[in-house]
C-alpha cells in the first residue's frame, strides 16, 4: 500500500433553476448559466476483441509518473509482439481507497470491467470473495516463468479455495528510517538498533529534549491515511506483541479483546500524548504521506519514521523530491518486537498483483499482457523503478537490481521475519476499523475505549461477512 495524497475528484452536479431575475443582473446570470459544469463518469468503452484494457492507479502526485511511463513502454512492446492487437491503458487517478471503490464498481458489470486490473494484495481476497476475479491456475500451469516466483509472494494472491488469482510484481518490507544528523545532535548512535518499544520511545524523547523543533517520530495513524496507518503504523506494532495477534487462522476468527491490541494502541497514544509525533492535525491530514516524503524527511524536520522500504524512490534523480544526500543522511533499523521477544524484529509485507476480472472480455489477451509485463527485464526494471523488493529469484540475483537503491539489502534482509496480512475477505473492513481506533487515541481518547469500539465493529463485520 503506497500512501498517496487524496484528491477526491468527484463529479459535482448542480441543477440550474429557472427564476425571474432583474435585468441588471442578466449579463452576469447569463454567464453563470453558461458556466454550469455538468460532469459525469465516462461509460465503459465498447468491446473490441483485439484490445486489452488495463486499469491501474495513477499517483495523485503529478510529479510521479514512472508507473505510467513503464506501462506505456510495456504497451509498445506488447503491440509490437502482437500485430493487430492493441493495449489501452485506463489510469485512475485517486487516493488508494477511492481507486479500489472505483475499480470494484467497474468490475461489477461486463460492460465496464477492464481486462486486467492492478490489485493490492490487501484487497484481493475481498474482491475474490465478491466474485470479481478469475482464477489464473490454467494460465499459470502453462507459463514457464511461474516457477521463478517466491512461494510467499505466490501465497499472497492465493485464496481460501486454494486457487491463485493474481500475479505479484514485487513486495515490500517495513522498518525504521532515522536521520543520522539529528541523531548526532541528540547524542544518539549512528548505528541505532532499538531492542524493544521502550527504546524506540526513549530515542524519540531524547530527540524531543535535545533537538527542539524537530518531529521526533512519525507513526501513520487515523482514517485518512487508510491502509498506511493500519499496516505501516498499527500492524508493525501489533505483530510484535505475539503470534497471530489480528486473526486466528485455526479458529477462523478475528481476535477481539487482546492485550496486544490495547498495548499497540497505547504506543500510538503515547506518541501523540507526549507530543513525540507530528501535530495531530498534520498526522491526520490526508496528505501526510506526501508531506513526510517531500518535506519532513528531506528538510530534516523528522528524526524517525516508521515507514516502508520504498521510501527512497521519492528522492532519486527525477523523483518527486530530489535529495542526493539521502543515502548517507538516513540510516535504517528493524522495528523491534514489544519487549524484544523472539524473533526480536518485526516487519509487514504486502505488494501488488495483476489480476483478471471475472467479467473481463478478453482474459487470454490480458494474460498475454501479464507475460509481457513479467519478462525478466521488465520485472527487474519495474522493481527498480518502484523501489520494490523482488519476488522473482532471477530478479533478486540481478546485480543491477541489487545496486539500484541504497538500503535495498537491508530491507530484503527483513523478509525472513516478515508477516503478511490475513488473506481473508473481511480484511479491508477490519483495516478501516483499525484506522478509526487509531484516530480515536491520536485525538486523546483512551486505548481501552478505542479497543472496545474496535471489538464492537468486529462483531458487526463478522455478522455481515457470514
Amino acid at each position: 500500500m503506497r500512501p498517496t495524497a487524496p484528491v477526491a475528484a468527484l463529479a459535482s452536479r448542480r441543477r440550474p433553476h429557472r427564476s425571474a431575475y432583474p435585468s441588471r443582473l442578466s449579463p452576469i446570470l447569463a454567464c453563470v448559466l453558461a458556466a454550469w459544469a455538468l460532469t459525469g463518469c465516462a461509460g465503459g468503452s465498447g468491446h473490441d476483441a483485439d484490445t486489452v484494457r488495463i486499469a491501474y492507479n495513477r499517483s495523485t502526485d503529478n510529479a510521479i509518473r514512472f508507473k505510467d511511463a513503464f506501462l506505456e513502454d510495456v504497451k509498445k512492446q506488447f503491440e509490437r509482439a502482437h500485430p493487430g492487437k492493441k493495449a489501452e491503458l485506463v489510469p485512475i487517478q485517486a487516493a488508494d481507497n477511492d481507486y479500489a471503490a472505483k475499480v470494484q464498481q467497474m468490475m461489477r458489470s461486463p460492460r465496464t470491467a477492464p481486462d486486467l486490473v492492478y490489485e493490492d494484495t490487501f484487497r484481493i481476497n475481498s474482491d475474490i470473495g465478491a466474485g470479481y476475479l478469475r482464477p489464473l491456475d490454467d494460465y499459470l500451469s502453462r507459463w514457464d516463468q511461474w516457477g521463478r516466483f517466491a512461494a510467499t509472494a505466490k501465497a499472497a494472491a492465493k485464496a481460501e479455495d486454494g486457487r491463485t488469482y493474481g500475479v505479484p510484481d514485487g513486495t515490500d518490507t517495513r522498518g525504521l528510517w532515522f536521520n543520522k544528523q539529528i541523531f548526532a545532535k541528540a547524542g544518539l548512535p549512528a548505528n541505532w538498533r532499538p531492542g524493544n518499544w521502550a527504546e524506540v520511545l526513549d530515542a524519540a524523547r531524547t530527540v524531543k529534549e535535545k533537538v527542539p523543533g524537530v518531529i521526533p517520530l512519525n507513526v501513520y495513524t487515523g482514517k485518512a491515511a487508510g491502509e498506511a496507518a493500519a499496516m505501516q503504523g498499527f500492524e508493525m506494532l501489533l505483530y510484535g506483541t505475539g503470534r497471530d495477534p489480528l486473526y486466528d487462522p485455526a479458529a477462523k476468527k478475528w481476535v477481539a479483546g487482546s492485550k496486544g491490541f490495547r498495548d499497540a494502541l497505547g504506543f500510538v497514544r503515547t506518541v501523540f500524548a507526549e507530543k513525540l509525533g507530528p501535530d495531530p492535525s498534520d498526522a491526520l491530514d490526508p496528505n501526510v504521506g506526501t508531506h513526510l516524503a517531500t518535506d519532513w524527511m528531506p528538510n530534516g524536520k523528522l528524526a524517525i519514521a516508521l515507514d516502508g522500504s520504498w521510501l527512497g524512490q521519492n528522492w532519486i534523480a527525477k523523483g518527486p523530491k530530489e535529495w542526493p544526500a539521502w543515502s548517507t543522511t538516513l540510516g535504517q533499523a528493524a522495528m523491534p518486537t514489544q519487549y524484544g521477544q523472539a524473533p526480536g524484529t518485526v516487519s509487514m509485507s504486502g505488494g501488488w498483483t495483476w489480476a483478471i476480472p471475472a467479467k473481463a472480455a478478453n482474459p487470454d489477451l490480458a494474460f498475454d499482457f501479464v507475460k509481457t509485463l513479467q519478462t525478466k527485464d521488465n520485472a527487474a526494471r519495474w522493481d527498480v523503478a518502484d523501489a520494490q523488493i523482488a519476488v522473482r529469484s532471477d530478479v533478486a540475483a540481478d546485480p543491477a537490481y541489487l545496486r539500484s537503491m541504497p538500503g535495498i539489502t537491508f530491507f530484503t534482509g527483513l523478509v525472513p521475519s516478515t508477516h503478511y496480512r490475513p488473506a481473508v475477505p473481511a480484511y479491508p473492513q477490519v483495516s478501516t476499523a483499525i484506522g478509526e481506533a487509531m484516530e480515536s487515541v491520536t485525538t486523546g481518547g483512551s486505548a481501552a475505549s478505542a479497543a472496545k469500539a474496535y471489538d464492537d465493529q468486529l462483531t458487526s463485520i463478522a455478522r455481515s461477512a457470514r
Partner: protein, 295 residues
C-alpha cells in the same frame, strides 16, 4: 391538436393532451424511476461492494442498524448543524442582506459585488473546496491574517471542522440566494414603499412589515432549494476534511460514502441515503407549513 378540440373536452381529447409529454414521461420513468426503485430495493438487502457476492433480503435490518449506530446519529446531528448554519442562517440571511444592500448601491459597487459573489458560486465545487482548505489549514491564509493581528493561530480544520465547512458552504452558495432575493425585491412596487415612507415608517419597520411579507414566497422557495442543496453537499466536505478529524465533520452524505464505498456496505449506505431523503422532505414540509407557500 387544436385548442378548440381540447376545449370540447371529450375523453379522447384529454388523453390526447398527454401525447406531447408522453415521450418525456416515458424517459423519466425509464431513467429516474428505474434507478430510484433499484436503490430502494438495495436498501433492504445486505449487498456489499467487495468481500461477498451474495445478496440477501434483510428486511429493515439496515434501518434498525442505522438508528442503533452512534456514528449515524452523529452524522444526522452534524448534518442539521451544517444545514442550519450554512443554509438557513448563512446563505439565506447573507443573500437577503446583500440583495437589499445592492438595491441601494451605486452601479459600480453593484457590479463588483455581484461579480465577486457569483464567482464563488460558479467555481467548481472541488476548486472551491481546495481554496478554502488552503484558507483554513494550519499556516494557511486565515492564520496568516490572524498572525498579523497578533491573534492566536490554529488549524481550523482540526479544531472546528464543522464550522469551517459550514463557512465554506456559505462562501460558495450565497450567490444563489442573492439572485433569488434580488429578483424578488425588484418585484416590489415602488409606490407601496413610498406610501409607507410617507406614513412615517422607518427603514427597519418598512423592511419587516412591507418587504418581508411581500417576498414571503421567494423566501420559501429559496429556503427549500437551499436546504435540499446543502443536505446533499459532499465534495466540499470530502475535499476539505474527509469527514474528519475522527467523525467531527462527517455529515450524512460523507457517512453514506464511507459506509457504501470504504466499508463496502452498499445496502447499509443506500438505506442511509433513503433516510437522508426523509430528512430533506421533513425540512420541505416544515417550510411549506411555516410559510404557507403554495407548492
Amino acid at each position: 391538436m387544436s385548442a378548440s378540440a381540447a376545449a370540447r373536452g371529450g375523453r379522447g381529447a384529454r388523453a390526447a393532451r398527454w401525447l406531447p409529454i408522453a415521450p418525456a414521461t416515458l424517459l423519466l420513468l425509464l431513467f429516474l424511476a428505474g434507478p430510484i426503485g433499484y436503490c430502494v430495493s438495495i436498501a433492504f438487502t445486505d449487498m456489499q461492494l467487495t468481500g461477498s457476492s451474495a445478496v440477501d433480503f434483510v428486511g429493515f435490518a439496515n434501518f434498525r442498524r442505522a438508528f442503533a449506530d452512534p456514528a449515524f446519529r452523529n452524522a444526522v446531528w452534524l448534518t442539521l448543524v451544517f444545514t442550519v448554519l450554512s443554509s438557513l442562517v448563512g446563505q439565506n440571511t447573507l443573500g437577503l442582506a446583500l440583495a437589499a444592500l445592492m438595491r441601494r448601491a451605486s452601479r459600480p459597487v453593484r457590479t463588483v459585488t455581484g461579480a465577486l459573489v457569483i464567482t464563488a458560486w460558479v467555481l467548481p465545487e472541488i476548486v472551491a473546496a481546495f481554496l478554502l482548505y488552503a484558507f483554513f489549514r494550519r499556516e494557511g491564509t486565515l492564520d496568516a491574517i490572524l498572525d498579523r493581528l497578533h491573534l492566536p493561530a490554529q488549524n481550523w480544520l482540526f479544531t472546528l471542522p464543522i464550522l469551517a465547512v459550514s463557512f465554506a458552504n456559505v462562501w460558495r452558495g450565497t450567490a444563489f440566494s442573492m439572485l433569488i432575493y434580488s429578483a424578488a425585491l425588484a418585484e416590489i412596487p415602488k409606490d407601496v414603499e413610498e406610501a409607507a415612507e410617507v406614513d412615517g415608517a422607518g427603514g427597519a419597520r418598512r423592511f419587516w412589515y412591507i418587504t418581508l411579507p411581500m417576498i414571503r414566497r421567494s423566501i420559501g422557495t429559496n429556503l427549500m432549494l437551499n436546504t435540499l442543496q446543502t443536505l446533499s453537499v459532499f465534495g466540499l466536505v470530502w475535499a476539505m476534511t474527509r469527514g474528519g478529524p475522527g467523525d467531527r465533520s462527517q455529515t450524512l452524505p460523507v457517512f453514506m460514502y464511507d459506509q457504501a464505498f470504504l466499508k463496502s456496505l452498499i445496502g447499509y449506505g443506500t438505506a442511509v441515503a433513503l433516510l437522508l431523503l426523509l430528512v430533506g422532505s421533513l425540512f420541505s414540509v416544515v417550510y411549506l407549513r411555516l410559510l404557507k407557500v403554495e407548492a
